[in-house]
Symmetry: C2
Subunit: 281 residues, 2 copies
């Protein structure tokens, strides 16, 4: 399989993994965001991922993949995951699937890449927090309206991600050599069982290790930290073969409308890394 | 979305539909054939489906899609479905997604298309029954070894399908204007709810209406007819809002190792038709 196929498969394996407390998975639909919206998003993003594999720039390939992903009625399904997968696909087709190679890809992004990234926000409603102080004109929620300001300030896409890295776990991957993504990939390779099942386990491990930034942005840091602690407890029980607490944790997150989406995105990146390293369903 | 994307999505929605008694679905894995093998098959077949959309012939596009589908360890996941989807994609990109148009596509197949079809059997182990009497040299299980005989007899792919139409429900679609496929598509459009859920319902309706030919080939006609009758009973209960019998039926098929795969393939074709007619998750 090509890197673009691995990326599409990573999106599918991610959503198929269960239980993934707080998120749509093989056993969980939300009323307006269902499993099949994620399947459709994965199919739709294929063209953009193949463009990343060919000669298209990161920004344009990302915009195309998001535009394709959005052709379903569930809304934002895989924006964050694609934000990791597009540079990973590019890295894999050039220098290889490694932290160094993907760092090289993201550090080489241009102002045009930043423009593509902002245009991607025109296609779908993405939950993001307020921009850093004094950076209102670069607010990603403005979508393509922010492009003149981006051009004036000559911000590359890497610069844009640097601005968001304090608050956003995906932006932080960009500025931090995709550390958690590669760590997730390594863990998935180490574990046994179905790939989607391993993805679900690593989701819980990541969630237990660091507060999810999407949860922090939506519900505050305290809630995100409390989710982390509860994930840690559920993980400990699960390690002893008892999945009851994981399921109770899952129910409670759903009840409270808490979805650790950034952690799921990093799992998708990790699944891609594992597939590139020869893992195969 | 393009026809090739609709075909890929149809494969995913088909396997995501549940309950689909006897087959892998969103809630059912078999020990060596799991949900994620179908996800991988759907991703892998994308290249062949896109080739069908472009200028590649039916036989070559089919072989490519099957070769791509086979890059997972579960074995045959979607051979029969692709046998319907490849000509449907070709029809949709030329004369439209209609019985007339797809009939035109399959009736125009050549000896070269038949060669591609036979080569496809080299990529994956497909369960098929014995060939008709006196047609041993055209046995599809011989794979590409049968190609010289096919060439000598100047058999087109349509001719090959005609030979199998008595025993095989997919071949019969080819020679019968894809009647059940379009009927399934119409029903999916009529029903309400998620597309994968509608697919599962239509699976049960089709199964209740005609014996599954894969079951007949593997277990005999009597078993296939008994499965049909039990599907009819389960469907009647389900129509009255009681799904208990469907689940019991499902468990009993799994216990007996009976999987009505041809019926699932036709549902995949029906989902494609529904997507082409504007249905969207």
């Amino acid at each position: 399989m090509t890197p673009a196929e691995h990326a599409q498969l990573a999106l599918l394996l991610e959503v198929a993994g269960t239980p993934k407390p707080g998120n749509v998975d093989r056993d969980r639909d939300f009323p307006n965001l269902r499993f099949e919206h994620f399947l459709t998003g994965a199919v739709g993003s294929g063209g953009g991922l193949r463009a990343a594999e060919a000669d298209t720039t990161v920004g344009e390939a990302f915009e195309r993949s998001v535009s394709g992903m959005s052709r379903q009625s569930g809304g934002n399904t895989q924006f964050g995951a694609l934000c990791l997968l597009v540079p990973l696909v590019k890295a894999s087709t050039s220098g290889g699937c490694s932290p160094e190679s993907v760092t090289n890809v993201v550090e080489s992004t241009t102002v045009e890449d930043a423009e593509g990234f902002y245009r991607a926000f025109d296609h779908v409603n993405v939950f993001v927090g307020d921009p850093p102080e004094g950076a209102d004109e670069f607010d990603v929620r403005r979508g393509s309206d922010a492009i003149p300001a981006i051009r004036d300030a000559e911000l590359t896409l890497f610069d844009v991600m640097e601005m968001g890295a304090d608050e956003d776990g995906i932006a932080r991957e960009w500025t931090n050599e995709f550390e958690r993504t590669f760590e997730a990939g390594k863990r998935i390779v180490e574990l046994d069982g179905s790939l989607s099942g391993r993805g679900a386990r690593v989701y819980l491990e990541l969630l237990a290790h660091e507060p999810d930034t999407l949860v922090a942005k939506k519900h505050g840091r305290k809630v995100a930290e409390s989710v982390r602690v509860r994930a840690q407890e559920a993980l400990q029980e699960a390690r002893h073969g008892d999945s009851e607490l994981v399921h109770a944790f899952s129910e409670s997150l759903v009840e409270d409308g808490i979805n650790p989406g950034t952690t799921a995105d990093i799992v998708a990146g990790g699944l891609f890394v594992a597939l590139e390293r020869g893992q195969r369903p």
